[in-house]
Amino acid sequence: MITAHIMPLTILLPLVGAYIILLFGSRHKILARNVALATAGVTFAMVCFITYLVSAHGTFVYHLGGWAPPLGIELMADNITAFLLVTFASVAFIVLLFASDVLPGEINPKVITRYYALYLVLLGSLLGIVLSNDFFNIYVFLEISSIAAAALVAVNGDKLAMEASVKYLIMSTLGSGTVLMGIAGLYMVTGYLNLDFIASNLSAAYAGYPLTVLMTLAMLVVGIAVKAALFPLHVWLPDAHGAAPTSSSAILSGLVVKVYIAVLLKLLYRVFPLDFIAALPLQASLLVMATLGIFVGSILAIRQKDIKKMLAYSTVAQIGYVFLGIGLFSEKAMIGAVLHVFNHAVMKSMLFLSAGLLIKYSGRREIADLAGLGRTYPLPMIAFSVGALSMVGIPSFSGFISKWYLGLGALEANQLLFLVVLLVSSLLNAFYYLPIVIAGFFKKGTVEVEKQVIPVGAQISLIFLIAATFFFGLFSNIPVSYIAPTIQGLFGMFGGV
């Protein structure tokens, strides 16, 4: 029974967990925590099961209520989807494991149960976005995720976070309004909301209403770009990610931004035919914006004094990488982009979590004050170093692999320039990550820090993330061989570009 219905159950489970927490959690704090952990864990297990099913039986679909696609809502899982699902569920679980130990000291104890509930709602909506094969469903889940994410930023109730949250909410509503208009346009010209049906009817629609189709595409891409913080529209990100509690920053930077990229992938590679897009200036503008994003994000990150803001700006730059991979429209670059979604999720959540621990124990947020903390707290500093080296793109860390594919993709697309962009930006990454590591381990500290015991859950999650960074750096053929066939299929379907 579970095998057949696993997809809706996977989306539902976190939502049910959230409401159970809301029902009972206010009186039993421990219960809330355990339910949240168990829910996230079981979701992760189910997602792994989906991954196995997809690899064993190929793509499979599910019709809600038994209604067939043009009328009913359809869920679909293929290899890329399954890969993204694993990304979201695993990182969310690990971050939650961390949060369950560290949160009580960080945010108002009154709101902790609500935090867990919101977290699970967010997780459910992320999985829903990835699984949905229907534009309207995607829109609804997008909105749920932005509200939950904004709430996760503001949960602590301090001024900065509140302001960042309002800003985030307004920007993201702008984006989703535009997206909704785009969806309406698509519905107008094709008469369908299901992705596959839109795709098959789009060429006919384009023959009839070329400008509407173009406008629709533009609105969808711009709307998604706002939510995914592509360069000129990224202004909300550093404040929101910098002001949020540690685990929120980790999941926002690691996952929430990525889910919009998943939508963009669906849009560009499943709905609009590649030769259609190749005829538009979309590719060029994506590439330019991604490049600018990489450089501006990196340069602004170099300037930051607050470590969390620095990490947030680094996210802007890294999102640029993913958009670069998508915009290059080549097979290798595409693999690179999908891999980077995962690798960056792991790395960035590790960086945010370790930075959060360091901030918590030293009481300082300034980068200059983190000197010498590596002696007192080796584990967070090691995790930070691993993340930093991975970001710079040192081989044997996972960050290298995605850069490798992006670089090969740039060559494959005959765009030597973007190889240079990749390499130079790696150097810029080194400029803002390595000094922290060096200062952390080899410089004398400016603040006296008392040694405290790091909670077990936090330790486990950090160790797990470190191991994942190494594992997927060393044995990268596992994810690559999982997603490569689908991507080759995507490019093969349209005759390659």
Binding site: L211, P232, L300, V392, V420, V424, F431, F442, S476
Partner: protein, 753 residues
């Protein structure tokens, strides 16, 4: 069991890599166990390397592939070249480890040092047994980062600074190398060491680009001028064993990379249309090598810290290797001499340079002093050190019977061969530079020897002890190696060089020619005499004038190259601001707040330009010498006369500057007045109306460093006092509105259809 045998290179690399954790673990049981563990692991590595060498000598090529590891598999492929150098690496490392036990005994964080020490050994070995460029790169980067910890072991200001330069240059170099790997992977589909030049051309990629990026990649590690600036900073600050392996082994990884890439990947057969290209970049390498060795040697002479001299000496010796490489590459299949010279010199330099660095370390261990001006007269206290230093010096200056001689003769033959075959007159000049550099080498080594061990003792050395037994053993071993190679030169060439060279695309006849170099011929034996004649002349010149020269700052590579690049990038920013200031009308562009920020930056930059002064020109400084008793002290009158002359010159210069200063001040005042008028007219009013945010008060002008100025400029451009909505309100607003209007027009157009 061929399968098990092919895993030997894997074992060779993994033994130290995993052993590093063993060393850290053993530290729990005490310091003795830690050093025993480190010794055992390095010794075991040496044994494995020797075994591997034995197997390879039998004619097997060990190939091991770890499929699917780090993207597309790691490949180990050990042929003769790799096998020999693994033995060299393991041997030097083992000797340095034995040396380090006593040297490091009083240092802090020894466990960290020995852990990374062993780890670096594994990574370095990985470079030499790698089967393709990608695997090489992986170990190359691991080595870079592990060695960083060795460089900054002292953790003081100086070493952290040196470490930073080392790290960033290495990372940049690694990225350049990565670019080459990307190209190869894309063009060939694999990064193995196989000819690829034709494929690169077919893809429409300029081969010079590849060569230049390659130089960026390996040149940093190889200490090639002008990419060498990290080397004289990083090598002296590391602990002596670390500087020994840094100088002796790690910079060789760069040379080794060049060796593989130039002789195999980028080479074409003679008569190929691309052969001219190969000849050209070979020629370029000769010149780079010549400049590197000459400048390195000069800097060696001019420096007064023992380790600094040795570090510059390393640069100079790397110049020899590049020089030989270039002459080999230039001749294509006739270039066996160049290869032989480079290869032999790589091995020899590894031994004698680590020998010298460890000796310097031993002197430092017992005296606590590295400055040659403060050492002196140690011959009574440290006779053993003096003797060993003499041997090492004989080796590096190429006295017959010691190993440096062998490779110098080969390199000399190589350049002469190039001249005979091509008869380009410039090659003869290069040969002369080579000979002169040999003399300079002799000069700086003799200078160390004389100043450290002879002359008047400038400190109380009575408590200084001579080398300990274990150190004597280490240096004894070095002596044995150095002398063996030197004495059995012919056999070494037959055993070590010819088989290695036969792996490269050289003609058989030419190879045989290498085997018949008359090492003991009269012409060859003359070369050390020439060297020493030049050395004596140089030393006499120095002595005669009784000076030592301090190179002014404006002549250094940092100033000439890197500072100018830095200024240049600053200049671009200035130019952009200038454009914005003068060419774009104020109200044409909306989004005023961002322009206001640019204006602030412009103002600041203008202030900086006003403050800018040309860098001080310092005449070469002449100081009274502090040579030992061998040199006659300068008289007081001489000194006074000199001081008077300097003062007069200085006064003249100041006078000149003052007259110009008046003009500059006028100019500044005019510029300032213009600016203020302009400001008063537009800006305040506009800003106050638009933003309602009070302008920030002007900071008083202050003297700022160049870095600070750049930082502030950038900050000015990117500064954003918290203002979350500026994009939505202004910049983004415009963008959005324009986009939407366009969309609306499209839409209306649609309706009209």
């Amino acid at each position: 069991m061929p399968d098990a045998i092919s895993r030997i290179p894997l074992v060779l690399v993994l033994l130290p890599l995993v052993g590093a954790f063993g060393v850290v673990g053993a530290a729990r049981f005490g310091d003795r166990w830690r050093s025993r563990m480190a010794n055992a692991i390095t010794f075991a590595t040496l044994i494995v390397a020797l075994w591997q060498f034995y197997l390879v000598q039998q004619g097997t090529v060990l190939v091991y592939v770890l499929e699917g590891f780090v993207e597309f598999g790691l490949r180990w492929r050990v042929d003769f070249v790799g096998a020999i150098f693994s033995v060299v690496v393991a041997a030097v490392w083992f000797l340095a480890t034995v040396f380090a036990r006593e040297y490091m005994a009083h240092e802090h964080s020894q466990t960290r040092f020995f852990g990374f020490w062993t780890f670096t050994l594994g990574a370095t070995l990985g470079v030499f047994v790698a089967g393709d460029l990608f695997s090489l790169f992986l170990f190359f980067e691991a080595m870079t980062f592990a060695a960083y910890v060795l460089v900054i072991h002292e953790e003081d200001r100086e070493s952290l600074r040196a470490g930073n330069i080392y790290l960033y240059m290495s990372v940049a170099g690694g990225l350049a190398l990565l670019a080459v790997i990307f190209l190869l992977q894309f063009v060939v589909g694999a990064t193995g060491f196989q000819p690829a030049l034709h494929l690169i051309i077919e893809q429409g990629i300029n081969p010079w680009l590849v060569v230049i990026v390659l130089i960026g990649g390996f040149g940093v590690k190889a200490g090639m001028i002008p990419l060498h600036i990290w080397l004289p900073k990083a090598h002296p600050v590391a602990p002596a064993p670390a500087s020994a392996v840094l100088s002796a082994i790690m910079i060789k990884t760069g040379a080794y990379g060049f060796l593989r890439m130039l002789f195999v990947v980028l080479s074409v057969p003679d008569g190929d249309p691309l052969f001219a290209f190969q000849q050209n970049f070979g020629y370029m390498f000769i010149w780079i090598g010549a400049i590197t060795m000459f400048v390195g040697a000069i800097m060696g002479i001019l420096n007064d810290s023992m380790k600094k001299v040795l570090a510059y000496s390393s640069i100079s010796q790397m110049g020899y290797i590049l020089f030989a490489l270039g002459s080999g590459v230039m001749l294509g299949s006739r270039g066996a001499f160049g290869f032989a010279g480079a290869w032999m010199h790589m091995i020899n330099h590894a031994f004698f340079k680590s020998f010298l660095f460890l000796l310097a370390g031993a002197v430092f261990l017992h005296t606590g002093e590295l400055d040659l001006d403060k050492l002196g007269g140690l011959r009574k206290q440290m006779p053993f050190a003096m003797g060993f230093f003499l041997i090492a010096a004989a080796s590096i200056t190429g006295i017959p019977g010691f190993n440096g001689y062998v490779s110098k003769i080969l390199i000399h033959e190589a350049i002469l061969e190039a001249y005979h075959l091509l008869e380009w007159p410039s090659l003869l000049w290069l040969e002369r530079i080579f000979v002169v550099t040999g003399g300079l080498t002799a000069a700086y080594i003799s200078k160390i020897w004389i100043k450290a061990f002879f002359g008047k003792a400038r400190n109380d050395w009575s408590h200084v002890k001579d080398l300990s037994t274990s150190h004597i053993r280490v240096f004894g071993t070095y002596t044995a190696i150095v002398v063996t190679i030197g004495v059995f030169a012919q056999r070494m060439v037959d055993r070590l060089v010819i088989p290695a060279a036969s792996l490269m695309p050289f003609e058989q006849g030419d190879l045989a020619h290498v085997g018949h170099v008359p090492f003991w011929g009269s012409h060859e034996l003359m070369s050390p005499i020439i060297s020493y004649a030049i050395a004596v002349a140089v030393l006499l010149l120095l002595w005669k004038f009784g000076k030592h020269i301090v190179v002014p700052r404006w002549l250094s590579v940092e100033y000439l190259v890197y500072k100018q690049l830095y200024n240049g990038s600053l200049g671009i920013i200035r130019f952009l601001i200038h454009l914005r200031e003068n060419w774009i009308p104020k109200n044409m562009l909306t989004g005023r707040r961002i322009w206001r920020r640019v204006d602030d930056a412009a103002q600041e930059t203008k202030a900086q330009i006003r403050r800018w002064k040309p860098p001080k020109w310092e005449p070469p400084r002449w100081e009274p010498a502090r040579w030992g008793s061998a040199i006659k002290p300068i008289t007081k009158d001489d000194l006074l006369r000199k001081i008077e002359a300097t003062r007069a010159r200085e006064k003249e210069r100041v006078q000149l500057w003052r007259t110009k200063e008046g003009e500059i001040t006028k100019w500044i005042q005019r510029a300032r007045r213009d600016w203020q008028e302009k400001e008063a007219r537009f800006e305040d009013r506009i800003y106050d109306v638009v933003d309602g945010i009070p302008r920030k008060p002007q900071r008083p002008e202050e003297e700022l460093s160049l870095d600070e100025r750049l930082r502030r400029t950038l900050e000015g451009i990117t500064r954003r006092k918290f203002n979350p909505y500026w994009t939505t309100k202004n910049l983004g607003f415009d963008t959005w509105i324009v986009a939407m209007v366009i969309a609306l027009i499209l839409f209306v157009f649609l309706l009209a259809r």
